[in-house]
Structure formats: structure tokens, C-alpha cells
Symmetry: C2
Subunit: 134 residues, 2 copies
């Protein structure tokens, strides 16, 4: 798959098409492409035998790892966890983390980063004036 | 699927299992379950004919809609966009948004919220001392 690029932009939105995640050629970071300033998101496909090149931690960002397909392992502070479709892991900034695909099929997952403590309370505004779909 | 609950917690991580998203019975918000304070995340399955009950906007949060399976429509400020697997949409706080599943199969998607402008620059810390996987 070619690099993910924005396909359409309006005053309050931007769209990009990642296509089938099984066809990802490399890790795709989408924050800059889509204009995010409060989160970073990456789309990841790890082939059999592939692993994080190194452990990493964060200064202020928490991370979500959401596994969509395949199986593998994830470690935090030396503790190893099995992951499968639907596994979600929050890692606090200080967690020393890495993943690996020790299976014989692709491991697909999404990683989201955000700055801890920045979410506000009730932020949504319900707009009752117009029906959403006429 | 039963409600998503945390299955394992360590000093710097929390794990939950959402299982197969096709089996979701209702919208699942995972921030509280997993301890996030910088992002809100929901897992969504819309059945054929289902739509947002109302348009909504936000005060300070930007949103990512990432569509994983099925097809449908998304609107921002009255403009309607077709969505399919791999479609990613960033909506700015002021965007008046709604989705609908106008197809004959389930529409699966993830929604992430974060507070605009809160991401820091280079936040990751590469830990080179130990190999990630021995």
C-alpha cells in the first residue's frame, strides 16, 4: 500500500484512506496527515518474527495498544503478556515496553498516544436542533 | 460479548480483552476501564439501519473515527462522506458530526478523543541498555 495521504478536507474535518491493514508496508503515523494535535496514532503490521527494535518509555504520554489480528507478545517492565485480537493495553509513561510477533501470521495493531491528564470532563455537545439524517 | 473489563494490571499497565469486535453488544468506552486520562476510546458496532441518534460537536476535543469493517456514511457540517474499511476521519471540535450504517452488514469502528493542542513534541525515550527480547 502506498503511503497514507489525506484524500479530502473540509473546514472541520480531514479524511485519509488506509485501505486494508493487511497490506500495510510500513508503520504509518497519521497525526500529521490528518491534523491531530492532541493524539498520535500509528497503524502497524508486524510480520512473523518481527519485534520492536528496542524497549521504549515516554515522558508524559500514555499509550494504547489495540490488537486487531494475529497473535504475539507484549512486555512491560519485563513482564510478558500474550496478545490476540481484541487485546487492549494501556501503558503509563514510565512503562518499559516492547512487542514481538512470535507467530506464523501477521500481527496487526493500532497505537495511540496522548498526554496524561489532559482529557476534560463532559466535552460533547449534543445538537438537538436538526435530525442527524433527514 | 460481556462488558469489557480489565483482566490484568501491573505497576505501569492495564490489560482488557474486547474479543471479536463483531460480537460487541453495545458501544464500549474503555478509558475508565483501562485508566486513561489523556484519551477516550470507544469500540463501536452499528447494525444495518443504525445511525447516530443526534448530531454532536465538542468543546475542546478532536476525534478520530477509524472504520475497520463494513460500509456506511459519515457527515460533518452537512457534508456526507462514504466510509469503508481503512477510512480515517479527524473531526475538529466544532464539526457537527454523525454516522449511519446504510448497508446490509455491520459497520465496525473505533472512536478516539483527545484534547486539541496537548500533544508534546518528541516524547518517546529509547532504552538501549537491554535488548527488548533476550
Amino acid at each position: 500500500m502506498a503511503e497514507v495521504t489525506a484524500t479530502k478536507t473540509g473546514r472541520h474535518y480531514t479524511v485519509a484512506e488506509a485501505g486494508n491493514l493487511e497490506a500495510l508496508e510500513k508503520k504509518e503515523f497519521i497525526a500529521e496527515t490528518l491534523g491531530f494535535t492532541g493524539m498520535q496514532v500509528s497503524l502497524n503490521r508486524a510480520v512473523p518474527g518481527q519485534s520492536s527494535p528496542y524497549l521504549h518509555a515516554h515522558r508524559q504520554h500514555e499509550e494504547l495498544y489495540l490488537f486487531l489480528a494475529g497473535t504475539g507478545e507484549f512486555q512491560v517492565d519485563g513482564e510478558v503478556l500474550a496478545v490476540k485480537p481484541g487485546t487492549m493495553i494501556r501503558v503509563a509513561p514510565d512503562g518499559r515496553r516492547a512487542w514481538r510477533n512470535n507467530s506464523d501470521s501477521d500481527l496487526l495493531f493500532i497505537v495511540v498516544q496522548a498526554n496524561v491528564g489532559t482529557l476534560t470532563g463532559q466535552d460533547g455537545i449534543r445538537l438537538d436542533g436538526d435530525p442527524a439524517w433527514g
